[in-house]
Symmetry: C2
Subunit: 339 residues, 2 copies
Amino acid sequence: MVEPIHPPQTPKGALQIDLGVIEAAAARIRPHIYKTPLLESPRLNNFLGYRLLVKAESLQHTGSFKLRGATNAVWSLSDDVRHVVAFSSGNHAQGVARAVTTRGIKATIVMPEDTPATKIEGTKAYGADIITYNRYTESREDIGAALSEKYKANLIKPYDDVRVIAGQGTVGLEISQQTAEMGIAPDAVLCCCGGGGLIAGLGIAVHAHTPETVIWCSEPKFYDDTKRSLETGSIQQADTDKSSICDAIVTPEPGTLTFPINRQHLSGGAVISDDQALKAVATLFKHLKIVVEPGGAVAVAAALTGQVPSGVDTVVAVASGGNIDSDMFNRALDAGAFF
Amino acid sequence: MVEPIHPPQTPKGALQIDLGVIEAAAARIRPHIYKTPLLESPRLNNFLGYRLLVKAESLQHTGSFKLRGATNAVWSLSDDVRHVVAFSSGNHAQGVARAVTTRGIKATIVMPEDTPATKIEGTKAYGADIITYNRYTESREDIGAALSEKYKANLIKPYDDVRVIAGQGTVGLEISQQTAEMGIAPDAVLCCCGGGGLIAGLGIAVHAHTPETVIWCSEPKFYDDTKRSLETGSIQQADTDKSSICDAIVTPEPGTLTFPINRQHLSGGAVISDDQALKAVATLFKHLKIVVEPGGAVAVAAALTGQVPSGVDTVVAVASGGNIDSDMFNRALDAGAFF
């Protein structure tokens, strides 16, 4: 257990997304998304010494929470927009590819050549056009902008997009509603953080219901740019020369829109090694019987490695995605569960 | 797609468990069990050509539906009973071991020596005493009876027990309630069948709500004793010389209490090979992101192999358990998904 790094800050000029915007997103996406359960295990609770509820967004259609933001963006478009463009390492790609099918419009997705096969296959299966690029030599932003121009398409960014942040925030809305129905309020919510769109929307929604809840990010080793940015109060870079198996959440720096929000709502965070992420995947296999990818398991890994705020009795951890190849899952099973 | 084998029969002297008994069980066990979700995947629906909802009992505490029947039995005991005995290949064992902790009484569990390690470990973790036996040379019934005498304990049988059948029936009750909330009625419910306790209770509960729903069993190859018993109208034996990886549902013959109920409610069934069960496990990993054991995946395998009643638009399949060792899960991933 660790103390929160610092009290949440309210910088000037922070983006105004409030509960109403997230509730509107929830109403907009409701027909197209699945209200994922809060799972728990008596043995896991016993191991941790407090109650851990896992928000299983891995069970979301397309295998990750990204469907929420993508669907909110697609259903926010005016009727004359018939094409969208997105760049993504995989989960946002699948979210956008699925979202456009619910509205009968087209999607072109820009993906790195080295994206896990299951994510490329999933994106193709929904009928999207895919353009691959080399992430070390080409700029996905430039490719995305050129494609948007060519197709007169709307660009749906993976996190620095108000529509996307609001859509991801519905995860937080559900956590608040589901815990309230159980008659409890979470002392902390642990959530993975790449570009920070999910935790930004989640922080707004949860704090609107329970302002005392600690919002806590979890990031991969070398990609703890949000934690360090919170500590210093200014945007810090990730060590992008280093590799991480948490492909879903390796981003170079906090988002321009997301970081000011996260500075308002987050109190600190955890840093997770590859081995810890793999062992968290194996622990979720063994004790909760769910399939979670390494980047989706870092919030649960924060709990399993004791990197949580001190004095908690009830904690929610988001398991954000389950799009993992068989080979990587085998590697996790070989690493073994924490207990 | 196949035609139902025969119309359901109502034999004389069939056990009277009605909806009221199952609703009473639901009220009794509510504080101790988890209401599992109905999961679906747009890609899976597209592959099958109809809507498949998977009742994920693998997400139940202890990793299987068996907790329901065990909890109903334990909470039906009078206060002077302080010890229970059960024999089980694993999932019922974990269910009973967990159930007694909610009431503060003791359990002694009789398990085969060759039970998967994860199931023995799970049973021990809840604090139960375990006695192992050789399933080829010893009788678990005799051992269980002797222990019950020794400890003045109540014997909780895995399926031929009214309290257990009623508890398992709450799975069917939830299916009826959850589909009604979605505004749909299932054309068929597919469910695994070992001793037949789950499908017996489920059939009663579902037919009380939607009498037209086809209840369809799924059994492992060589252990299709219920399907053959339905066809012949009399109890048939499994080919117990043959092996199956579906350890949770390999039973020598239909239960004395369960078969008369199943004859009333079941219209036929599917037979699943080891390879088909493994591929179903891999398909559930890939498309629904859940961990299911081979015996728990046979109902979904029935759908994936086209062994379902003809003309269905909406089908529910029960994924009954997720207690699978890493080695067997690796084997399933190697077998690969159906698509």
